[in-house]
Symmetry: C2
Subunit: 645 residues, 2 copies
Amino acid sequence: MAQHSITFYPSNKVALAPTGSLLTESLRDAGLDLAQPCGGQGRCGRCAVIVESGNIRRRSTIRLSASDLEAGYALACQAVIEGDAAILIPEQEAVERRLVTDKTARKVEVPFAYDPIRDQTIRAFDLALDPPTLEDSIDDLSRLERALAAQDISNLEVPLPLLRQLGSKLRAAEWNVTAIIETDHWKRNTPRLIDVNPSGLKDPKGLDVCGIAIDIGTTTVSVYLVNLMTGEAIDTAAEYNGQINRGEDVISRIIYANKNGGLSEMGDLVRKTINDLIDRLVSRNKVDRNLIYKATVSGNTTMMHLFAGLPPASIRLTPYIPTVNHPAPLLAADLDLNIHPLATVDLLPSVASYVGADITAGVLASGLSEADELTLFIDVGTNGEMALGTKDWFVTCACSAGPAFEGAGVVCGMRATRGAIEEVWINTQTFEPTYRVIGEVKPKGICGSGLISLVAELFITGVVDKGGKFKLELNTPRVREGEHGGEYVVAWANESDLGRDIVITKVDIDNLMRAKAAIYAGFTVLAQSVGVDLADVQKLLVGGSFGKYINVEKAVQIGLLPDMQWERFNFLGNTSVLGAYMALLSREARSKIKAIAEKMTYIELSADNTFYDSFTSALFLPHTDMTKFPSVEAIWDNKEKQEVW
Amino acid sequence: MAQHSITFYPSNKVALAPTGSLLTESLRDAGLDLAQPCGGQGRCGRCAVIVESGNIRRRSTIRLSASDLEAGYALACQAVIEGDAAILIPEQEAVERRLVTDKTARKVEVPFAYDPIRDQTIRAFDLALDPPTLEDSIDDLSRLERALAAQDISNLEVPLPLLRQLGSKLRAAEWNVTAIIETDHWKRNTPRLIDVNPSGLKDPKGLDVCGIAIDIGTTTVSVYLVNLMTGEAIDTAAEYNGQINRGEDVISRIIYANKNGGLSEMGDLVRKTINDLIDRLVSRNKVDRNLIYKATVSGNTTMMHLFAGLPPASIRLTPYIPTVNHPAPLLAADLDLNIHPLATVDLLPSVASYVGADITAGVLASGLSEADELTLFIDVGTNGEMALGTKDWFVTCACSAGPAFEGAGVVCGMRATRGAIEEVWINTQTFEPTYRVIGEVKPKGICGSGLISLVAELFITGVVDKGGKFKLELNTPRVREGEHGGEYVVAWANESDLGRDIVITKVDIDNLMRAKAAIYAGFTVLAQSVGVDLADVQKLLVGGSFGKYINVEKAVQIGLLPDMQWERFNFLGNTSVLGAYMALLSREARSKIKAIAEKMTYIELSADNTFYDSFTSALFLPHTDMTKFPSVEAIWDNKEKQEVW
């Protein structure tokens, strides 16, 4: 049999391989083992390499997008050698990032060509005031206003705390000052004075006007620290929302807030989380917190209510009414934020009780609001919120996914922290699992992405049927009758950090199926409400931590996400904080978010007759109607032909 | 000698009197003694009666105005009987009030035809909201806004503390509410929500929208409680400014405020005074303080600064610059006022460091701003502030009168409280004094009005000369050489509550002369600045506690007030609080005060060359140039002819 020469870059190692052998074997021969968590089944995508030249046949490309193929990617475990070849092994980190689709990297790009004078509502005006004399004895404020009038600033609002300091600030600076002014906001077209600094005051880093963009997630709070002169995100930080111990989802938070003292406690908790993040950002970047003059805040409607101290009780009760979807901008001091006390805090607009600013901001950041084609945007956290439309119209709805995707409400569930099984592959022959654990330690439990991955594998490998029922007749000790009916052992007691088996039960699978069915039913109702089919959707934009961690292929396989061509998916990371960042920078972006909120048609699912039908149809793996999931159908066909599986 | 029959009403008593006898004698015969504190010299005006019919010759009318004469008034001690007559003795209280010229009675008239819908910025809108349903699920605030839009209220501002209560207030009222709204103010033409009450909420007195007008005097704080539905002043109250113990005049207050902690202490003190007055008003009228939604505040520039917590230091130092002459309206909560926390607190505009809102409000309340003729308005408290002009223009200035008019800085001086000698008359022959004591008790000292009265009498009776020097050669033990040069004994030790003689010294007279000279020089400079003569002034409007207590005739005699026909004087009481009351009621009145402040030309006396000359010329009794004081000259002429005196 002919031997072919396979050269691997960048190491320049060479292996000889016979026709028909797999690239994974040559890699092993060259001493270049790549991780193959799925056991070489072509389903995890971790062994992706780039074929620079040569004769390689791709046996399966399920994990590769059209653009991947164009770039020359192949999965080594599915690459059949038919001639000499030159293979580039990408840095493993890059592979990881491509697959995990985490675009929320530390370094965030400025999202557009930023011009602070055109775009920014926070402006610094350098003023050389004429010192007062007996002949020119107008009051201090009028003197400041006179100088500002020359810069087209008139009808200035001056908050009392600043007015109280005005005289001493002007005199201490010997009348040469920088006036920090908010020129306008959506509720007010007149300027407001935020501070008067001595001319040339900058913090040690040379900054003079900063802002923060905040996303208050039910689970995670993210903050960007931004230089408002350049638009650059100086740094970002994220932390669990301090409210988590008072309830994992919005409903339990609302119930807690309704208790005596609960509302102020919840407000304090989230404000402390934000202040801790601000502390971290200003201290590690050596930024003076008093130079932070503006904050934009995104989050779901309940999170916004709790942050602002608005009682959320009526959000939970029919007919599901928030106090306000779009509060006027507030002051940092009113919200106990540890930035400049007179900084403006702009809460982005929500649409309804369960469609929050995370969606309106996300629609802008995702590009849905500029889309020519029919586009579906989803942001699935603890709640599933989604919008369907084009640049001209949107419909939106929300459904309660429950905590299953966050690893709660499941026997061995846990949050996506150290020790969580985050991805699982099951061998089609032996039904033995391979898994990846966050932190590469002994597993303690299974997080949301691990659960999705696990249920998909159980289904694809035939361990459970379409109804999620275990096939107890399979010849493996992993499948067994447990306390709660059928169950599958992911890790035996001796492999686990718990000292007992880590399992997934029939009850867990039912929970997950209800959650995914609710979300898929949401898609269906949205599409039906405007008379289109889900298959007509040209782009599926995925925001939030959901898209950040899950394996989309698995999510499609369980019927959580609609089955469509790989290149139609776009994983955008935290679109909520990105939208807040855009709003922080730009008056126009801020207006667009407001216009998005106003334009959105909200569909209350609990009032929608078609929702229950769609939900019931989606209570299968992946769905009652398999024609909606052609890629999953293809796998089944393949499996029956026993070609790959 | 013919006897005439004199009938006195309302008692119907009759006396017989010969031709040429005085009415006072007939009164005594009829057993109807009237008080004659001046000893029957025709100078105190207390014995005024109304001649209903008959033949009575008025020997002197110096204490009677043209309108008094028209009404038939005569002074009994100057009324010579020449035939039968019918005499009405007015109630003595009415005489007192006419003479004391105190128009600040408990019951204040609504100053114009008040139409709350046209005039008032605080409005109560009764709204029957549609309760939310699944089909009509807009947020609470939008629901309120929708109902208000039907009443032409849009772009509503809702303060955060109220937004936090909005949902529960709407639900508790079952969606039938009264929205209390400030429709606009001079800085803002959009509405602000102050409260949302259950429909039909009224306090026990049936009130639903109230306000307060506040005048912060250096010495006295006055508050009116006003029903904003009718415009009626429900009640008024006044109390010493709690800052008095930290300094009697504005300069010493500024110095105190400049000490560590002094500013907040001064602010707390005056706010406590105001809150005590509010407590008194709401408790004795059984008004719910939470129904007070608006306050207007008048006072001099320093008082306004201390009230608002603005440091006044630069007011005192050349070039005398306040932080702000016209601050934007504030919230009651920001100023710790115990009324509705979101009530608007509107500080009326000042003109300069020493011409405050008491003057701009006073100019409106006095009618100067509507005057066709040349009018001089003065408000002399601890400071002397004045304005000259017509409805088309005003000039204004301020001079430090010092505390002499308030009874301080004088050996036996005291404030106008119980035990203070408030008026003095001296017999032209014996130089023995008669005096009136506040509270009709033994005297403890002499208050400002008593000092003015005393110095005038000393001058008119020839006890002191034009230079204020005592004539020690007079044949009376009352005039003597004391520790500080010449002095006059007003009360011997055995008549006084102190157990020692109550005297006025040469030094006291010099102090008072400097104070009156400063004020008169102010008038002179104002007149010169616009090229008119003081004699051209057609109206002299006197506001403030000054006009409330002094005997104007005496004030003219010492040269404190310009000498002009009696009917040109108009004593208006506290014009500052009256202006605040008008501003409280009416948007238009408020605009007028703003226009007054903008229209006023301020003359800084310390920068004015003519002031010192005028001051020096005025350092005599009544003035170097006696032709400026014809009525005083006439008394001297009379005196020399020995006809009356």
